[in-house]
Subunit: 340 residues, 2 copies
DNA sequence: TTGTAAGCGTTATCAC
DNA sequence: GTGATAACGCTTACAA
């Protein structure tokens, strides 16, 4: 690439055509490898060289306007609220989607949901919108499909009745922890639900997974609401140290909460895992940094990222809008350590 | 909003005009509050109602094509590689930028840099591009400016020579830790540099901050390369337990690495903070979950998010392209706990 | 094998 | 005050 003098305005395909000595249409044909159009290799080369020379980049909006739809895969997600785990998964899958020719856009909007949000997303004529299930309504989906969006995909812990779902099973986390605890002979189970706005919904689902699994064996699971706060954890540990109604197996919601509880139990003189087994989730670094080391539910991919991206791509090109299409993405394993 | 029958195609401003019984131009005037155009309040109301009725959302691409530039603030960042800390900061600032009328887009591209990347970004005619400094070249900046981008802003630990910089001071983290350790009488300093690709560059800068501060007091700081690995940490702790060349104050890079080291020192029978003080960084939850609790460098905002967003907005509207414009965003404090 | 021309939905410059 | 109308840059059917 030659280092040109600063262009006053970005080069257009007309500029390229002029430089290459061909028509503007030919430029479009060549650069898009238009099928069913025969152009001599020599002309192609001239066009490509001219484009390179001018630093030509096609005007995305003009292209979208003309074609009526973009190749954007829109992810209107608040990127921080979702865990680092999901975020890195998303990045890997995004990378693959890009290789399939999509433009992956994390769209910065947060509060809105329903048809108002859909209208905003629809402005960009995305090929696909992948969004948390709770932000979708029937009208929202309709608006997007009217805007030419090939498919809308919900992210949720259960299948959406409106559109295909990327199933991020959160019940399974709790279920896996419960199975592990029960298999090791624990019978009085408890599950932490974080007392933080935004996290509680996730906590409820993990708790439900624990409860469901316990129920299958004729047992119950107690709910323990816990804010991320040392004093609250100490109070809880003290009440358990006093005896009364102490569980012998606790699922700590995730590794952070489990570690918080673990530290408080230790401070209160309760033996882990002797008196209480503690299991975390997400297999984060902290699990190996506390003593005893934390047993944790590791979330693994059910399909590899390539496969997920390939399925998504397939759904987009085939305009699969069937709510019956459900793509489960995660699976679980126990990372066995010392706490339970 | 009335819940309409499914639209076959998204409503255009022409549809709105027809329904409101006005010309299409009038619709544009009303919805954009065009200055210097007198339109009766009654007409305005009719137009607005028609737009609402039809669920009209202007076609973003058509608007961009016509206006020559978008209101997109493009952040071509891999959202996972950057820490959770920066991510949540970014979200807050993004939210504010949105309130200033910008469309914040995290653009999914990763590998590319230089003019090739710039060309890809320029396709969308963004109003601003905020990107890591190392991905910019002179030609890249030129291409973006030619595409009408109001300003390009670098993110980096030192001011960019090409464009204005959002200064994320990483040296300061190490410097703050070193000051703290030195103030408490430690003299044989060491700093952990994570032996992980991708993290080492950050580690080097934090180390440099420690070294610089130590040097100002006539002392040196030792570099300790450490992978995130229990065995490696144990080996390091064992060598220090053996005596030899043991530091009395260690900066652990961040809380995860500091906690890793802390656990290994404990296992090796070294007293913390008695024999070695350990300081982490980022003030993550883990700092309160380990024993002794971890003293940590807390990264705080130098300006509040509102102010940062306001400055960015100002730079965009004024087309501030002056590399002398530097916006330092973070400041530091010590979260004093038990480890040092 | 290549060129001509229509039209995508907006905004903005003119006449009316 | 309001309504035609001409771009904006591109893709694609059709003409040459």
């Amino acid at each position: 690439m030659v280092d040109h003098a600063p262009a006053a305005r970005p080069a257009t395909s007309t500029d390229v055509a002029r430089l290459a000595g061909v028509s503007q249409a030919t430029v479009s044909y060549v650069l898009n490898d238009a099928p069913g159009v025969k152009i001599s290799e020599e002309t192609r080369e001239r066009v490509r060289r001219a484009a390179e020379e001018l630093g030509y980049a096609p005007h995305a909006s003009a292209r979208v306007l003309r074609k009526g739809t973009s190749d954007i895969v829109l992810l209107p997600l608040p990127p921080f609220q979702i865990g680092g785990l999901f975020l890195s998964w998303l990045n890997d899958v995004g990378e693959r989607l890009r290789q399939h020719g999509h433009t992956v856009v994390l769209y910065g909007d947060t509060r809105s949901k329903g048809v108002a949000a859909a209208r905003e997303w629809a402005q960009w004529r995305p090929a696909a919108v992948i969004v948390e299930a709770h932000r979708l309504t029937r009208a929202a989906v309709r608006q997007l499909y009217a805007a030419g969006t090939a498919t809308v995909i919900a992210i949720g812990a259960e299948p959406s009745p409106l559109v295909p779902t990327l199933l991020v099973d959160d019940y399974g986390v709790g279920a896996t922890a419960a199975d592990h605890l029960l298999d090791r002979g624990r019978t009085r189970l408890a599950a932490v639900v974080p007392a933080e706005p935004g996290l509680d919904a996730w906590g409820e689902r993990r708790l439900a997974g624990v409860a469901r699994t316990a129920a299958a064996r004729g047992l119950e699971a107690r709910r323990v609401d816990l804010p991320f706060d040392e004093d609250a954890a100490a109070a809880l540990a003290a009440s358990w140290a006093a005896g009364a109604d102490r569980p012998d197996g606790v699922f700590g919601y995730n590794d952070d909460y489990a570690a918080l509880l673990l530290a408080a139990l230790g401070d209160a003189g309760i033996d882990v895992p002797g008196q209480i087994a503690v299991v975390g989730a997400d297999d984060q670094p902290v699990a190996r940094l506390v003593r005893p080391r934390l047993t944790s539910v590791r979330v693994t991919g059910r399909l590899d990222d390539d496969a997920v991206a390939a399925r998504l791509h397939e759904m987009i090109v085939s305009r699969d809008r069937d709510p019956a299409t459900v793509l489960p993405v995660n699976d679980f394993a126990i990372a066995q350590r010392d706490s339970g």
